[in-house]
Point group: C2
Chain length 545, copies 2
């Protein structure tokens, strides 16, 4: 099927073909890894502009946008990382442990080329625990990707069926669709039937790391009664998922018995599913959470596969009223304690954050997370900067996400327009992803990330030069940009016209501006005249004092 | 026609009827104005919740949402302010001059009641030039509204036909439509034929202040050749518009001859239409802008009608690359000089700002504006926090708008999804307005505006208590919120169900959370147990040092 066909998908097919105005390209990089030379193929979305300039964009879409690739969902993607060296060192075979031993793994080389940074920076940040590379040994299909504040801000898209709707083939297509538009990770949050099989399909076909919340599947196994959960059942679920290749797991081990009463007077109580499940368990048994009491065993399991912890914020605020409260920060402090334990086991860790936070309280979240959790990568859900706009929470949260990203958050979990209202469909997933690419990119610009502004400049230049096709191709969503332009001026000549429908030909500031530039270039005397004027005091009016 | 019918409008009809889930209501306030008692009727959107609680929302929609009102576009709206006292004092009859003389005008009383603040605060802020009340004596149909950083952040929606498309009836409906969803002002930026007549229709039917950019009409009068513009022609245009009742006018008087060369090396030159027109004029004549050399005469005209200056940023950046550059700040400094002159004539002033600015450069804009322009209200266009997302610039700019609003910007000019691509249609206008209501409200929350959080709390409470109808009614866009919910769970029982489609009944954190609250309330021993646990050291693991 073609890329522009956004209708319902027949079962077992997914969206393929390049994004409009670009081609899939691989930058070949030769590195030495484990004493052996390896050629890495770094995927990019290549835009050949109408003026001949080439612009390559970071690309998460995997082989699906490669016209030369043969897609077979039954067979899964090529097992890219299977042939890569896994150096033998004391301790677990995790990116964290290798980094600490001074080893730049093939994954780190791949990431360095992908981000345009020194491989040593990648290693050092992973070694310090300030960045993670979610890369389960059993998910060799994934293209390595790093989450850390010194790198481009990443985004996550949640997919997954629920008891109410959805099918497996739809979920795989959602993954393909989300990564097509730029999702750096996806989380499979399925809660209905066929959880195991859905996840298997997603993992075998996913070019990006896949996260899960194992407690959801565990709860299915006890027919939805949280009080029936046990450590053993949970542990077995984690092993099952790690064996399949899940790259990171959300674990709400910071929801402690004594924190639960802190939520009783909140406006919106506990809004995290995992958090409420564990709170219900703790209350029912009057015992400390088994996730907390068995945390070291959990570390041993995750270390074996190099599964990354995503320490869940089960007590995150669910409303502006509850932001930055005692319950939230009590849990965050406990996550800091658990971070140390995980790292002592050589396990990579990131920390999940809110949620719903008004703008003036956002930065404090990053500051405390960094202080208490040793700068482990922060991974936040938005946050929504206001509660009053259901149906637009991709926007309320993109505001918060951009701000928290600029402040140092390394990954942003997307929010779709359906948040709080219903399950996202295909269009919602795309709008959510694009909104978060905007937030992440705005944050990269705000942090002065070295390569971020290049794309803004290329697009602005194309805009100023009326290269409409290039403007579309360089944008996050060429299909929609072009269709909006076509609504008012559909004819092909309008794509090279030196004006647009907003102002019409007479009023075009860009055209006048180009004329000015020309005039400025030819009128040699102008600068001198301007200087003369400045010498005379630069003023027609004297200032009123 | 009904409110939910979003199809194309027949000529000469506009959208009427209350927003779903609310009724138009007037809060009656008795004040003394000019020695006479006056009863003011403050319009609100009243939401009677299913639990009996009443929530009143600031309302800009005028009589159109009042089921009891008879709408007659030919007759125009009632001339509300005609009967209000205009106190006789030395100097011009402007809100600024009255405020300076210690007079709280009826407009100020209206505003104080509308914003829930002390009338004296309104007067003091206007007197200091930190707030403006755009209220031309010849636009008595408007409901008074204040723009200043101590008040709720306001938003402006641009409407207006262009040479390419649109009709007069469509433009009036766009005004009605934009104010229905919350636009505090509209600007009529018409550039095609029938400019005068379009504006007359809009003014006579607009419950909100109306702004214009007179240079657009002046340019029409010289057939689009900027070099043919003259002061006399411009002056006559300003008088024509002031007579009609335009409440504020954008004047690009800060685009000086010597600043034009500063834009020559920009990535996107001059992107303001007014700015490029004046730059072209200055270059062609090698003279200083007539807007600058005749500025005092302009002040005298505006003072007569109490038209507010909106000093235009003709050299605002049109791309991330050009943000905060020499040209932009040179003009801003000149706007500061002009602010002093305007205020010396008793004329109210606000200052327009960018545009395209990366997040880390946003706050500097507010800081310099306040320093150089005596804290005159700042009125910015976004700014867009990145250039890479045409078709989503309502989002790229909502991010910047929220941040600049929190920093002290008093009014935000909306951006629609069609920005840079085409002319906004009805849906685009609505999405633009809602996106900016979000940004403005997020800014109000971020500034700690006294009443802002009440609505978030009411909505969050409704959400937590599964009062779906109330959640929709309290939202910025009840129609869309409801329709999104109905997509997955259309049946009426789902509107009171204690779960939703996202997680299904088994996984609902809100339901579990409510159970926890109940458990916490009944289990008296829980707090004690928790305290006991805390005494024992609160820890299962000892911290890793």
């Amino acid at each position: 099927m073609t890329a522009t066909d956004e209708q319902a998908q027949p079962v077992n097919t997914v969206t393929t073909g390049p994004i409009q105005g670009s081609v899939k390209h691989y930058q070949e990089v030769r590195v030495e890894s484990g004493g052996e030379p390896v050629t890495l193929r770094i995927p990019v979305r290549r835009i050949v502009q109408t003026n001949g300039e080439i612009f390559d964009v970071y690309d998460t879409s995997g082989p699906y946008t490669d016209d030369a690739a043969v897609i077979d969902l039954e067979a899964g993607l090529p097992r890219l990382r299977d042939t890569w060296t896994k150096p033998d060192v004391p301790g677990p075979r995790t990116q964290l442990n290798w980094a600490r031993q001074g080893i730049v793994t093939t994954e780190m080389h791949f990431i360095a080329a992908r981000e345009g940074v020194d491989p040593e920076l990648v290693r050092a940040e992973v070694a310090a625990g300030r960045a993670v590379i979610p890369a389960n040994h059993n998910h060799p299909e994934s293209e390595p990707m790093i989450i850390g504040k010194k790198f481009a801000v990443k985004i996550n898209a949640n997919i997954g069926n629920s008891a109410v709707t959805s099918s497996i083939a739809e979920e795989v297509e959602k993954m393909v669709w989300a990564t097509r538009w730029g999702a750096d990770n996806i989380m499979d949050l399925s809660t209905g039937k066929n959880i195991h099989e859905t996840r298997e399909w997603i993992l075998r076909n996913s070019p990006v790391p896949v996260g899960t919340v194992p407690i959801y599947q565990a709860l299915e196994k006890v027919n939805g009664d949280p009080t029936k959960l046990t450590w053993e059942l949970y542990r077995d679920t984690v092993i099952e998922q790690a064996e399949q290749g899940v790259d990171y797991m959300t674990v709400h081990a910071g929801v402690l018995l004594r924190y639960v009463p802190l939520t009783a007077k909140r406006v919106t109580g506990i809004v995290s599913r995992g958090g409420s499940i564990m709170a219900a368990w703790c209350l029912a048994h009057h015992q400390e959470s088994f996730l907390y009491t068995h945390f070291e065993e959990l570390c041993e399991i995750l270390a074996k596969y190099d599964v990354t912890f995503s320490l869940g914020d089960g007590l995150r605020p669910g409303s502006i009223a509850d932001a930055n409260d005692e319950a939230q920060f009590a849990e965050l402090k406990t996550l800091g304690e658990l971070t140390k334990i995980a790292k002592s086991h050589g396990v990579q860790v990131m920390i999940e954050g809110p949620g719903h936070v008004p703008m003036h309280k956002i930065v404090e979240n990053v500051r405390l997370e960094e202080e208490w959790c040793e700068e482990a990568p922060f991974y936040t859900l938005g946050p929504l900067a206001t509660d009053i706009a259901p149906a637009y929470d991709h926007i309320t949260s993109a505001i918060g996400a951009a701000i928290i990203g600029q402040a140092g958050t390394a990954m942003l979990c997307y929010v779709t327009p359906k948040e709080h209202l219903g399950l996202p469909n295909r269009d919602d997933v795309k709008v959510g992803v694009i909104s978060y690419k905007i937030a992440a990119h705005a944050a990269d610009l705000g942090k002065g990330h070295p390569r971020a502004q290049e794309r803004d400049d290329a697009l602005s230049k194309a805009r100023f030069e009326f290269r409409w096709h290039d403007q579309f191709a360089l944008s996050l969503d060429p299909d929609t940009a072009r269709s909006y332009h076509d609504e008012t001026l559909p004819a092909e000549p309008a794509k090279t016209a030196h004006f647009c429908s907003m102002c019409g030909p007479k009023f075009c500031s860009m055209r006048i501006s180009a004329d000015i530039r020309e005039a400025a270039a030819v009128q040699e005397g102008m600068a001198e005249k301007s200087a003369e004027f400045a010498e005379k005091g630069n003023q027609v009016y004297l200032p009123v004092v």
